[in-house]
Symmetry: D2
Subunit: 289 residues, 4 copies
C-alpha cells in the first residue's frame, strides 16, 4: 500500500447516489482506457437508495495518452450520475502546510515521514504563532513563517497565512496548533484541514484534555485526527487510537505518553488523506484503509 | 497471578496517610508472623504527605496459628497508623450476586469464569428484572430471582433484593442491568457494586451509547467497568478497553462488536476486585494489576 | 457486517487469473439479474498478470427467480474466465462440527456465538476423544460423540468420525483438539478445517507452546487460527492476536491468559469463514474482513 | 513516571536470594537515611527459596549527606545478603552510544526522545559502519564516527569502537545495526547492549524477517528489544509489540509498517533501562514498568 513506485498509477475516488450498474459503468470506462485495476474499495449507505462511495487504484498502460482521456470520460459520466469525483496521479505529490504552536513532536513526525518518503507529501511551508522551531525546521530546508496571533491581530494573521498558502499548498495539518481558525479561514479549505485533538473524542472536548483525563481517572488515553469544521472538536473523525495508562501516571506523564499516540494518529490520517483514501459523508468519514 | 493454589496464601490490602517507616512496620509485622512475601505492590500520592496504598500477598508457614495472630497485630497497627485495611485468605472465596436485564453475554462470561475456576468467586444468586434467563442460569445450579421493576414498585423491588442479598453475598456485578439503583441501595454496598457501561467513559454517558457512537462516527468503541456511586456513570473506573471499528459497522454491528469488549472488561474488573487488587481513592482507583 | 437480516442477500466469492474487464463482466452479470450491490472487496497479486480475488455481497430484488439464474450465468462465466467461485445465500446456514479434547473454553465460545445468532452457523455435532463435556454439550441440545483415539485405533476412529460427518456438516473447527488428523482425513475437508494453535505462529510450533513461551520470556503471548494442512502448524493463517504478559506470569498463568486470546481468535476465524470472507492462495489467506 | 524532576530522587535496584525479612531490612536502611519512598516494585521467583528482585525509588531529605551514607550501608547489607545492587541518582544522566547501519528511523527516535528530555539519557556518540547519517547526526551536535566493517577488518573495527566508548558511555543501543558483535566485544558490556530485532521473537530469527513474515502470511508483524548475548537473537527480551497487517501488504509494506513498531519498542526498552527498571535473570528480564 505504501511501497508502489509505478509512475503509471492513478487513483479515482468518487461518490454519488446509488444507481443500478454504477460499478459496471465505472469499470467499463476504465477498461476502455486500458487501466489495469490494482485495488477496489467500495461502500454504500444503502444498496438501493443510498450514497455510493468508490475508490479504485489502477495502472494505465499508456499513461500519457489515457490519463487525460479518462478525465474527459469521467466528466461526462460525472454529469450523468451526479458524481463527486477526483482523479489523482502518482506523478503529482500533494503539498501540505503544517501549522504548529509550542510542541514539535507532531511536526517532527510529519517532516520525518515526508523526508523518508513514507508519506508521499511535500511540505512547502510551516506556519507558527511562535518563533520556537524556526532553526529546527529551516535545517530541513523548509520555510518557516512566524505569524503571531493575538485577539486583536487574528484577522490580519489569518489573511497573511491565506496569502502565503494561496496556490502553494493543497491541504493543512494542524500539528498541535493551539489557535481556533475562523469560519472564514476554514471555508477556504473545506475538508482539507486535519487537526489532531489530544483526547479520544468525544471524551474531553476543549482545552486541557490530559488534565481532565487525569481527574476522571481513565485507564486509557487517546488522540483523534479529524477534519476541521466550525464546530470545535466536532468535525469528521479520520483516525483514533489509545494507549493504556495507570494510577502511577501524573497529569504530566499522561501528556508525555499521549505524544506518541498523537503523532502516530495524525501521521496516519495525513497519509490516508494524501493517498485519497478518505471521503467525508455528513459528519463522518469513510476510510478505505 | 491466577494460578496459585496454595491454601496458606493470604492478601493484605491497606491505605493510610504516609508515615516514615510504614513499609518497615508492615513487613516487620509479617516477618514476626512467619509470612513469606510473594508479591508487593505499593503506590503513594506523595512520598512525604500523601496517601499510602499497599498490597502484599504472602504465604503463612503455620497458617492456622498465624492468620488470627496477624489479624490482631494489624488491629493494633491499624489504629496507630489510621489504616483502612483488609486481610483476606485464599481459603475463603468471595461471593458475588449478578444483576442482569435482557442481554446475557456478560452474565454468561462471569458464570463461565467462575465455573472454570479462573475467577475465584462463587455466584450464590442471579437477580433480574426479567424472567428470560431463568432456565439457562438454573442449569448451572444457580438460583435465579425474577424481581420486576416499575417506577411504582422500584422501592419494593430493591427492598426485596436487599433481603435476598443480606449475608449471602460480598459484592454485586451489574452485568448489563438496565435499572438505576437508588442511593439507599448503593449505600449498602459502597465500592462493592461493579457496573459495566457500554462505552469508553466519559464519552457517551447515559443511554444508547452505541447509537451515539454511530452518529459521531468514532473509529474505536469501548466499554468501562466502574464502581457504582450516586452519580450516573461517574463512579471510579476500574478497567476500560476498546475495539477498532470502521464505516461498515451499522449501529447494530457496533452493539454486537461491543459485547466482546463489555464482557472481557467486566470479567477483568471482577477478577481484580475479588483478588483484592483494587483500592478506591476519591473518584479514582488504584489497581495493583 | 453481522447484523443484516435480509433474506434476499447473497454472497459471491471468486478467484481467477487477472483479465481485463473482469470486474465489469461480473458486475454486468449481477446487474442483469437485478442484484443491488451492498459490499465489494477485491484483491490482486498483480494487476496485469496475477490472480484476481473478489467478494461481492448483494440483494436480489426477485430472489426466487434470480438466484438460480445467476448461478447459471456464473457457470458460463466461470468456464470462460477459469474461475473458482462459490455463490452462497443468507437463506442457508453453514453447518460446523466442533472437535474438542479436554479444554472447553473454545467450544463454549463457539456454542455461545452460534446460539446467540452472532455467528450464523449451526452445530450439528461435537466430536471428542474424551467424554468430559457430554452433559454440558447435550444441555444445549447438541449431539456429543465420544470417539476415543489411541495409536492403534486412530484409523478406525477417523473412519467413524467421517461417517458421522458425511453430509451433515460443511466444515470443522478444532477447538483445542489435541490429536493430529491424518492426510486421508484432511483430504476430505480441504480448507474446511480450522484449527486454533495456542501460540503466535510461527513462534512455538508443536506442543506445549505456553511452556516454551514461559522459558523464552516473551512479553506477549498469542494464538493463531489456521486452515489445517498436512504440515503441522504450517497451514494458511486466518487470524492471530496477542495479549501482553509480564514476569509475574507463571507458565500456568500464561495458559489461562491465553484462553481468552484463543477463543476470540478462533471465533473470529470461524465467523469470517462462514461469512465467505476467506480465500486461500498458496499458503496464505486473503481475508475480506 | 517520566515527569519527576526532583533532584533529590534516587533509585535502588537489587536482587539476592530470598531471605526472611529482606524487605524490612532494606526499608529500615532507607528510613535510617531519611528516604521518603515514592515507588516500590518487587518480584520473587519463589517466596521461600527463590531469587528476590526489588526496585525502590525515593527522595532523600538531605541528599548531599544521605546518598553516600546510604551507599555505605548498602555495601554492608549487600555483603550480608549476597546482593547484586545498584544505587542511581536522578542527578546523573546515563550516557548511551547508538550504533546504526543504513536505516535511521530508530536512531532518529532515540535522538528525538533524548533531546526532548523524554528519556533522561545523553548521547555522546553515534557509531556506524556507513557514512550516510553523518550530516544529519552532527546537526544535533552529536559526534558521528564512521567505522567501516569488513570480514577482514572486523576485529580492528571493534577495537576502535571500544576505544571510543571507553569511559564515555554506560550502555549501547543497536538501532538497526546490521553487524554481529563478537563475544569479546559483548563481554565488555554485559547486559548493557540493547538490540532491536525486526520481528516478534522467537518467530523469524536471523536475517530478512519481513520477507519471512510475508512468505508465512502472518496477520501481525512485530519487533523485539533484547539484551545482546552471544546467541544471536536469543538474549533476554525487554519489550515486544506488534501491528496488524493484511493481505494487501507487500514485503516492502511490511518493512515500512514495521519501522514504527521497531522505533517505539526500542525507545521503550531504552527508557526502562536508563530508569533502572530492568533486571536480568537467566535468559529473561524482570521489568518493573
Amino acid at each position: 500500500m505504501y511501497s508502489t513506485t509505478s509512475k503509471n498509477r492513478a487513483v479515482l475516488l468518487l461518490s454519488c447516489p446509488e444507481h443500478p450498474g454504477i460499478i459496471s459503468a465505472i469499470t467499463n470506462g476504465l477498461l476502455h482506457n486500458k487501466a489495469n485495476i490494482a485495488h477496489v474499495d467500495q461502500h454504500t449507505t444503502d444498496p438501493r437508495e443510498g450514497i455510493f462511495f468508490f475508490r479504485v487504484e489502477f495502472e494505465l498502460e499508456d499513461y500519457d495518452h489515457s490519463f487525460e482521456n479518462l478525465k474527459r470520460d469521467l466528466e461526462i459520466m460525472g454529469e450523468e450520475y451526479s458524481m463527486n469525483w477526483r482523479l489523482s496521479s502518482y506523478r503529482k505529490t500533494s503539498r501540505m502546510a503544517v501549522f504548529v504552536s509550542k510542541m514539535d513532536h507532531c511536526l517532527m513526525e510529519l517532516i520525518w515521514r515526508s523526508k523518508s518518503g513514507e508519506i508521499p507529501v511535500e511540505i512547502p511551508m510551516i506556519i507558527s504563532n511562535h518563533p520556537d522551531f524556526k532553526d529546527e525546521v529551516e535545517a530541513y530546508g523548509i520555510p518557516y513563517y512566524h505569524i503571531p496571533v493575538t485577539p486583536e491581530t487574528k484577522d490580519e494573521a489569518e489573511t497573511k497565512a491565506l496569502q502565503l498558502l494561496e496556490g502553494k499548498v493543497d491541504f493543512i495539518a494542524l500539528a498541535r496548533y493551539m489557535q481556533i481558525l475562523s469560519p472564514e479561514f476554514v471555508s477556504h479549505y473545506e475538508n482539507q484541514i486535519i487537526n489532531i485533538h489530544h483526547s479520544f473524542l468525544p471524551a474531553f472536548i476543549g482545552s486541557n484534555p490530559y488534565h481532565k483525563a487525569f481527574d476522571r481517572g481513565v485507564k486509557l488515553i487517546g488522540a483523534t485526527a479529524h477534519y476541521v469544521t466550525n464546530d470545535l472538536d466536532e468535525g469528521p473523525i479520520i483516525q483514533q487510537d489509545v494507549k493504556r495508562v495507570n494510577h502511577r501516571y501524573t497529569a504530566d506523564d499522561l501528556k508525555i505518553a499521549g505524544r506518541h499516540v498523537e503523532k502516530s494518529v495524525l501521521a496516519q490520517a495525513v497519509a490516508w488523506h494524501v493517498e485519497d483514501k478518505v471521503m467525508v459523508h455528513g459528519n463522518k468519514t469513510i476510510v478505505f484503509a
